[in-house]
Symmetry: D2
Subunit: 368 residues, 4 copies
Amino acid sequence: MGGNSIGKEFVVTFFGESHGRCVGAVVDGCPSGLSLGEKDIQVELDRRRPGTSKVSSPRVELDEVEIISGTFEGFTTGAPICLVVWNRGAESTAYDIIRNKPRPGHADYPAHVKYGGFNDFRGGGRFSGRTTASYVMAGAVAEKLLSIIGVKVVAHTIEIAGIKARMIRDAERIKKQAEENLVRCADQSAAERMEKAIMKAKEEGDSVGGVVECLVEGLSAGIGEPILDSLDADFAKILFDIPAVKGVEVGLGFDAARLRGSQNNDQYAMKARRVITTSNNSGGIIGGLSNGMPLILRAAFKPSPSIALKQKTVDLQKMKETEISISGKHDPCIVPRAVPVVESAVAITLVDHLLRAGFLPKVLGVKK
Amino acid sequence: MGGNSIGKEFVVTFFGESHGRCVGAVVDGCPSGLSLGEKDIQVELDRRRPGTSKVSSPRVELDEVEIISGTFEGFTTGAPICLVVWNRGAESTAYDIIRNKPRPGHADYPAHVKYGGFNDFRGGGRFSGRTTASYVMAGAVAEKLLSIIGVKVVAHTIEIAGIKARMIRDAERIKKQAEENLVRCADQSAAERMEKAIMKAKEEGDSVGGVVECLVEGLSAGIGEPILDSLDADFAKILFDIPAVKGVEVGLGFDAARLRGSQNNDQYAMKARRVITTSNNSGGIIGGLSNGMPLILRAAFKPSPSIALKQKTVDLQKMKETEISISGKHDPCIVPRAVPVVESAVAITLVDHLLRAGFLPKVLGVKK
Amino acid sequence: MGGNSIGKEFVVTFFGESHGRCVGAVVDGCPSGLSLGEKDIQVELDRRRPGTSKVSSPRVELDEVEIISGTFEGFTTGAPICLVVWNRGAESTAYDIIRNKPRPGHADYPAHVKYGGFNDFRGGGRFSGRTTASYVMAGAVAEKLLSIIGVKVVAHTIEIAGIKARMIRDAERIKKQAEENLVRCADQSAAERMEKAIMKAKEEGDSVGGVVECLVEGLSAGIGEPILDSLDADFAKILFDIPAVKGVEVGLGFDAARLRGSQNNDQYAMKARRVITTSNNSGGIIGGLSNGMPLILRAAFKPSPSIALKQKTVDLQKMKETEISISGKHDPCIVPRAVPVVESAVAITLVDHLLRAGFLPKVLGVKK
Amino acid sequence: MGGNSIGKEFVVTFFGESHGRCVGAVVDGCPSGLSLGEKDIQVELDRRRPGTSKVSSPRVELDEVEIISGTFEGFTTGAPICLVVWNRGAESTAYDIIRNKPRPGHADYPAHVKYGGFNDFRGGGRFSGRTTASYVMAGAVAEKLLSIIGVKVVAHTIEIAGIKARMIRDAERIKKQAEENLVRCADQSAAERMEKAIMKAKEEGDSVGGVVECLVEGLSAGIGEPILDSLDADFAKILFDIPAVKGVEVGLGFDAARLRGSQNNDQYAMKARRVITTSNNSGGIIGGLSNGMPLILRAAFKPSPSIALKQKTVDLQKMKETEISISGKHDPCIVPRAVPVVESAVAITLVDHLLRAGFLPKVLGVKK
């Protein structure tokens, strides 16, 4: 049981439901002395919220964050930071139809079994994609910490509906280009085709999936722990914790399995008195530790399970087969909105490991 | 820091080095009353050890397990079970060459940085593949617990050097067929081609990688925790903790990202009064919870980084570029030996979640 | 770092400050299906809040709880329960005097050092006794769970200002008698003397301390874990986590150290087919495990450090000696208000251990 | 379940039984670069082992430690350190009498219930005082780390059989004087009377208890975490985890509850440009944080439950009342042997908090 916390030094606890009072996060272990206000978090939340483009759900979720503990006079105090977004205007009545009819591809059925039917099923409740706002709130704190030591975390869409973007591995450039289109893809030409594929699926009452890649620049070598708290393993865990993720790769990922050792090994060289590797197939992590090269992580998102098309399901009360068609304002593709969630997840785990390795101070300066 | 333990109720701690005194594991949280002797563990260790086939390293590691705590009169007592395999006959002198010359693809360099040069570099030390014996020891205990409640965990090789096996998704059949060849692949014809590819790489002083798939049958719906201790996320973590894993997928994995929602969603139906899904694209996990269908997990292993071919590296003392050629008896392909390691990893995490969900008793019967 | 969570299966995370927005608690791991509403928690909070008697602070803290996640249609859902009490009407201006002048006996000075001066010092901030409202909120959930399996947790004042109460060890009777006076002491005659001692200290601008005893009835034998998660050790931890606690005893406590083994050992006998001990010097815990007898725990509270009398302190900015006199509405004795806090602490740890031992179900029934 | 590990960054896992193969400890999270050999640990183990004086058990336990992982070329590597003492010459046959007859004051009965009778009952098994050798092994590593930053942990006997020693609060002097007598009491005159009281109890087939005080000098202010990982709470937990401890106090402890606030508050002053308190009633911990003054901790040990005198018990198989008389070589007083155990417990928790607060480096220097 338990299960809603992650991290060892930078401990993040999530709470909240899709149609309950709120979604929230407690960030425990944030160094004191970080300048932090609601607007630092709001800017990231705004990237995640729907209703901002034709490729996402037309639902309007205002998603205003409130910091209800842990800051004082504009700085973090070292005490746990509780962050809340109040749910507003969610219509729950539409959901009564799913009380006993689990939607295919959603957690409705196993949640019903696990909790003896007491789970809040409205909009998926605790299992809703809406809970990823917790990632973004906590992630915004983590990203602000990372900026202090010059570490950049940048994610972007690299594939939607089978359409792959050209490979770009420059954080600065991605950051700029990906925000120029609705799908958050740094390759504008691919982005256009992705948009079209999404709109087509939408018109047909269907949905599409995709892949998000995340780059981390500026990380020293030697971050991570061996064997059971590997850096890559901790990234994989927090990425798989994001609803809809079905695969995670580091560096070449599955393609590494198709190479020879002589092709895949990243050989060492010296550059400006620093040790580098001449390739980065490993994605910056070897033996669970960072090697000083940029990190490369990828997460595969399945197509959103909420589709208008009729699907087979069962009535859990009558234990009989039946059908369901999901109305409501759903995302035909969650990938663009997942981009800030992936960044947040990576930032949270990174700060935890940096604190564990002693690479982030526990106190950021002294208050005058 | 820390980082050598995993699990919340079934807590496993690993220790040991490749060329130190031993590799070991402490299993804490095992229910009392499980019949357990050294031979239960030895049979699994024997599947992992090298020297047993031409496709693995010709090193002879006897790998005899000793249970040094936690059992009494043939049963587990509820106390922590410490399991040790003593290292024998390891020649360390050959390794002095790598003291300051990190081997490409190994953890040597980031470990050197992280530990200020104090890490035991011999054979990779704490980061050696040899430490996976700890997985197998702890996994053998977990698998014995699972057998009590009729849960089967079966892994097998499905790809080596780009050669893919036909898809087989029947635990019983896989179990039988995979042990009939040296690469642990249930598809005999693919197995033959894989063996050849390995031998060819070996002759050329090179290595190949591959993919292991793991099937879990007999699991109830509702196992797992939402959001931050998802069942799939915990599997991803422990699988990525295995050295050389670069990718993990659940169900269709990355391929799910290329489907429409209407294709990917597993629809519900009734069968023999039980709720089932008519397809299993999700790999038995939805929203971080098991849905009662078989689990399907995959891990991609990079080619073994230990190759005879000359590679570029740096001298960390002189901070100068140099070269290295790794002699010694190495595995041209670690995938076949990784099969029992993957099973162990999955079993360890499964037992932890079953205990957390209350699906495994804390005491197995009463002693007469 | 971290440090604001406790428990392994019933994981409680506290947040909030004395003069910030709120004090709160996240309860993660509560079984689903528990009937829970705000009034279940409010009744316990009302016992803790000040302004209700002449022996406590005349500050009026309304302390209304809000459940902002984790319940649905009147029942717990299995999701984390976030509980919040909003701070109202706290005047912070009075506290500016302590920004650089630590109050003797308070955490002001070490907190200033630890957090580089960024800590919220108003009213002690994160270290304020006000944060014990978090204990009471989470404890109310735990106590409701315990009532399901017939376990009673009852605390009462047994000593104030050196005045000791007659020993009463009957939960029912204590529960009734202790609520009949302002100091929550089941011995009415001692209670009167305690009240007088408090009023006298108050008049003199001073404060007094005391001892709270907690009884647990209805617990089975065999709850707890050996050696490093002993039941008594976990009680000691959570009790010492309550501000102002300086000592904890189980059973005879320090007096056991003055007895012979033959006097102190609790001998076994049979009663109504159950194994009992003929005395209960151990306080119901042996080797870290419950033995089926009532638990007896005691916590010593120092006198409240907030006193009107002038005291010596230092100016942390000028690094010079100076003086301080604490105005404001303070408790001359916190012991009566600590009684529900002690009950809550004990209940929280008990539920955690009952879940770990499998003595509490993860789902309480099935929803119709 | 689980329950045999403690610590967040310096994570210690204990295993082993009184009459099994061994007692052991895994120390995970020790910084790399600490010079560590078996003799560093042996010297502390020798202080704990029996057979060395007339006031302890005449059993001869050689207790030779073996470091089986985590060091290389005389230094810690950053990998988990596994430490083992092999059990030798334990006669288990004498214990068959207690298989179904629980000894009063021992964990036999609740352990029997908890583990369904599968527990190793010989000599108390997992619950034996012998398992405190694990504390001492792990503690020796912690104490060596503390010595690097000039922190001294010194415990000594301050009371046995009701005989109290004069108060001495000087670590250097205690260290020297306490080792000059068999009871480890720094007050020689009290020590003589204590010895006599022990010998008298021994002759009468009985046992006596006592109190150990521990002093920590050289600690900075600001170590610890607020509310749920208070420094004092973590000390209380690890001390109560030691078998036979029934009470823990910090500073004045229960006596603080009898003082006025004006008497108990430690007022601040400047001394050599440092902030000090003019008294140390708090025992160096305020609000869960160290305040820079010496730490003062006390643990009460009950009289050893193993006594030769006949006692009442029950036969758990027949569920009938019966009697038991414990033969064998037992300690008439465990307090002198508990002194190094208390030091170890305190050192383990201190290192954990120092690492969490960033006061101990993760790497001790760079290897040449």
